[in-house]
Structures are given as C-alpha cells and as structure tokens.
Amino acid sequence: MDMKVAKKKLGLKEKYRTMTRDLGWEPSYHSKDELFPYVGYEGIKIHDWDKWEDPFRLTMDAYWKYQAEKERKFYAIIDAHAQNNGHLNLTDARYLSALKIFLQAISPGEYAAHRGFARVGREFPGVGPQVACQMQAIDEIRHAQTQVHAMSNYNRYYNGFHAFADQRDRIWYTSVARSFFDDSMSAGPFEFMIAIGFSFEYVLTNLLFVPFMSGAAYNGDMATVTFGFSAQSDEARHMTLGLEVIKFILEQDPDNLPIVQNWIDKWFWRGFRVLGLVSTMMDYMLPKRVMSWREAWEIYGVENGGALFKDLARYGITPPKGWDDAGKAIDHMSHQFMLGLYQWSFGTAFHAWIPSDDDMRWLSAKYPDTFDTYYRPRWEHIKKMAAAGTPFKNYGLAKLCQTCQLPCVFTEPDDPTLTCHRETDYKEHKYHFCSDGCQHVFENEPEKYIQAWLPMPQLFQDPVNGDLGEWMKWVSLLDGKDNGDYADSEDKKNFEVWRGLATTNQ
C-alpha cells in the first residue's frame, strides 16, 4: 500500500505564502479601524491591500541568512583595515571631512529611517508592506551600526569623530538632515513612504551614495567601501519598495494622485536641499574627485530622474515643482555652500580649506559658466586675507531657512549675484526661507514648521545665551582640534607624520 509521505520542505512559493501572506488575519476582537488608526487621515484611499506586489518575495528566514553572511564578511574586512593601519592609505586627510559629515549627519538618518519603517510596518494594514517595511527597518539599523563601526577606527587617530551623537542633536549643519528625517517621521505612514521610500531611496539615493562610496574607493578608504558593498543589495530592495509603493497607491484610487503629487513636490525639494551638503563634498572635499556635482546631476538627476518621471506620467504624475529651479542651481550650489562652510569653520566639527590653485583649475574646467565669473574672485580674496595673517571668519552667524534649516546661502534662480530673500507672516510671527520651494513647503503645513528647532536662533536662547565658548562645550566641539582650517589642523599634521613613518626611512 502506498503511503503519501509528507513533504519535508515547502516549495518557494508555498513558503513565501506561509511566511508572509498567511500571517495576516481578520481581527475579531477589535475592528480594523481600531487596529490601524493612522491609515486614513492623510486622505489616501486603498481598496485592496492584497494587490500589493512583493517583487523580491523574500521571507524572514532567508533574510536573516543573507544578512548574517554579509555581516561576517564586513567585520572580517573592518578588522583587517584596523590591524593594517588602513587609515594611512587615504589619499589625504582632507578626505576625512566628508566622512565626518557623513557620520554626524547621515548615519543618524539611517537610524531615523529604521524607526520610521518600524512604525509604518505596524501602521499599514496589509501584510505585504508590513513584511517589506520590517525588513527595511532592520536594514536601516544595521546600516547605522555598520557605518559607526566602519568609521570608529578613524576616531582612534583623528579629531571630529568623537561626539557624532551629540552633534547630531545640537550642532548646526546636522539639523538639515535631522529635520528632513524628523519631518518624515512626524508625517503619516503614506507620506513617510513617499518621503523616504520613494523620494529619498529611489530618486536621490544615487546622488548620496556615489560621492560617499565611490568617493571612498577613489580615496583609499577600504572601511567605507566595504560598508557600501554590504549595503548595496539592501539598497536595491529599498529602491524597488519605493517604486512599488508609489505605483500601488496610484493604482488604488484616482483621488490619490493630487496628494501624492504634492508629496513628490515637497520631498524632492527637501531632498535636493539636503544634497547641498553632498555637492560640497563632490566638488571640494574629496582630494581625488569622482566626478563633479554637475556631472552627477546630469546622470542621476536629469537622465535617471527624467526617465522615472516619464514612466510615472501614465499615472498622471508630473516632474516635481522645483525641478527647474533645481536645474538652475546646479552650477552654483556647491560653491555658495562651501564658501559658507569655510567662513563658519570655527563652528564645524570638520575642517574646511581654501581650494588650491589646482583645485580652482579643476573647478573652472567643470563649471566653465560660473566658477571664474562668480566664485574665483571670492576665493582669491579669501586667499589674500589668509596670506596676510587675517584669515576670513564670519562671526555674524547666519540666517537659516525655516524649512530646510540650511543657512540662506542660495541666490535668486535667475540672478546669481543676489541672495534669495523670502519671508512670510503666520499668526503674527515672521518666518524666512532660502527659496520658493521651501516657502511652499512651509505654507502647506505652517503649524508643523513653526516648531522648527533652528540652531542659530537657538544659540541666543537658553542654555547658551549667545556665548560662543559655552556653545562649543554644549555641542561637544573641541576648539582648535575639531574645527577650523585644515591647513592648521592636528589631522593634517598627524596624517603627514604617520604616513611619513610608514612610507619613508626618516
């Protein structure tokens, strides 16, 4: 007699169904509305959560296996990097400024993304997005951890790495990235997905990762390159999720289109402003440059972004409202922002410097329409001031934008010689912006942005009350070590001495 033997293993399809979709159930003690109270107030209508596609069909057990394998490889290389004085293989210690900004401003963003995805994984009623968001939440906390570990080796030798968590909360330039993530985390679950899942992970991620990961490879930083490889397969999954979510929302109900378009407009512009920091790294901070900010924008913004919005046009989506203004800013933003970072470098936990003659030649070649006309005269003047023993420091501090929290360094879209001044009154208070894009974001939800914690006005309130020395203590900035011009820094001196010991017989 034939006995039917029970199969020991589930097939891939069965396993996927059992371990994801079968985890959902119809509640009987509470209504769905009580279980998922935040899914309706943004106005997005979803009729059938089962229509959600899971492009990777990844189950949790397989996820753990892949991630564990990547961790083993990652930490083996990080150990080797530490044991072999990998830091001396850098092109130059100027490179570390880019890394310090990444650690202070972007790694905490990974952690914020972890919290955000963990939250929306709970708030969405569908099992498909719940599982995908759970995996992404774990990815993001892993990225934050592995970045901290990859860079901790530099903290043994160099300044500016030691207080990244305090600085994430208190120093001024980090509030740009922080407010970006706080804005998304305090939005509803659908807006969070468009902000982080779509705009950040899909539209802008290449513009962030190319300078950092390729920049690391070009400049001999094996630790950060290894992190990049370890994160790459996760990023592919995140990008797919980001694209899936927008298509899913748009296919569910035509009423969703204007809401989604408004979020795309907002989060494109907010993301573009965060990238202001990145543009300075590509054009100024990497000793061995990968490509200019303008070239990166051509590839990842104009070509890839253009193709994406063409693809989304069938749902009625149009390119983001700030797209044209962004295009006009490309040849100016890195120069305008780097001038700021240099003149306020007494207040940064990384070093800035005056570009060398070689650097300026490169900038002229990459920005033939703007650098020599507008920016070289300012750098030449700053160079003269430094040579005269009176280096340029701007103690005036800066007006910050109420929305993006960057100093208002940007000019009118059609006049690069005039600062863009924008202001509005709301409930008898005055608010200032760096651009029309940021003003629009504010005017859509003023009650949200009037609470912005702006680090410059904060400096004149409790507990610092305008005392710059107290402020430095409060933000854990070691004056004379972490800040100032690279030319006079301990980092420069030490790197040159150590590299000399490693490569010569002196």
Binding site: E42, K399, E447
Partner: protein
C-alpha cells in the same frame, strides 16, 4: 488645515521673542556682496539705536569685504521686508519698526569689487 493631523493641532513657535531675554533677532544683508555667504543674524535689545547697529556689529562684520571702507552710510539704500525703506539713525530699532526676526537689506550702488563686471 494648517497641518495634516488626526485631530486639531496647535503648535508653539520655537523662536518667540520672549525666549531671547529682552533681546530680539535682526537679520541684515548687504546686497550683491556675497563674500558673506548668508544674511547676518544679530541679537540686540530693541532699544538699540539704529546708528549703533550700523556703527557697531554691522560695520565690524562687513570689514572683510574690500568695499567696506568705501561705504557711505548716509547714501546707502535700505530695504525692510524687501521694500524700500528709510531708517531713522537716531531712533531705536523698535521706534524704526524693526520687529523680532525682521530682515533689513542695504544696497551700495557702484561698490562691486568682488562682483562680476556687468
């Protein structure tokens, strides 16, 4: 609605004037002088005479610009909230109508050492 929220939501502005212990913020910028990367943020008592703002912090802050010594403060063109405006140098900020977080700008036609030739 002023914010997308699950119920009525009223926030408190973070930079209210009472947080500045008797002082207020004033933003000042020098048009077309972009050696200074952003408008200056000053924190002063509202009783400060306008002349003192100009002779004190403002004159000191603009020093690094090669045009600074040539500024004729009596001939400067002023704007407040982006509109032409004439300050009374002897009156206080408050008497000049310069409120908390107001932006004033000034123009010095003819002075443009670091600006591109027109």
């Amino acid at each position: 609605m002023a914010v997308a929220a699950i119920k009525d939501y009223i926030a408190t502005p973070r930079d209210r004037v009472e947080n500045f212990h008797g002082k207020q913020l004033v933003y000042v910028s020098w048009d077309r002088h972009l050696l200074f990367a952003a408008p200056f943020l000053l924190c002063l008592p509202p009783e400060t005479p306008f002349a003192e703002l100009v002779k004190g912090p403002l004159s000191m802050l603009v020093q690094p610009d090669p045009d600074a010594a040539a500024i004729d403060w009596t001939a400067v063109e002023w704007l407040k909230s982006n509109q032409p405006w004439t300050p009374d140098f002897d009156a206080s900020l408050a008497a000049n109508g310069i409120g908390h977080k107001d932006q004033i700008r000034f123009r010095t036609p003819g002075l443009n050492s670091l600006a591109p030739a027109a």
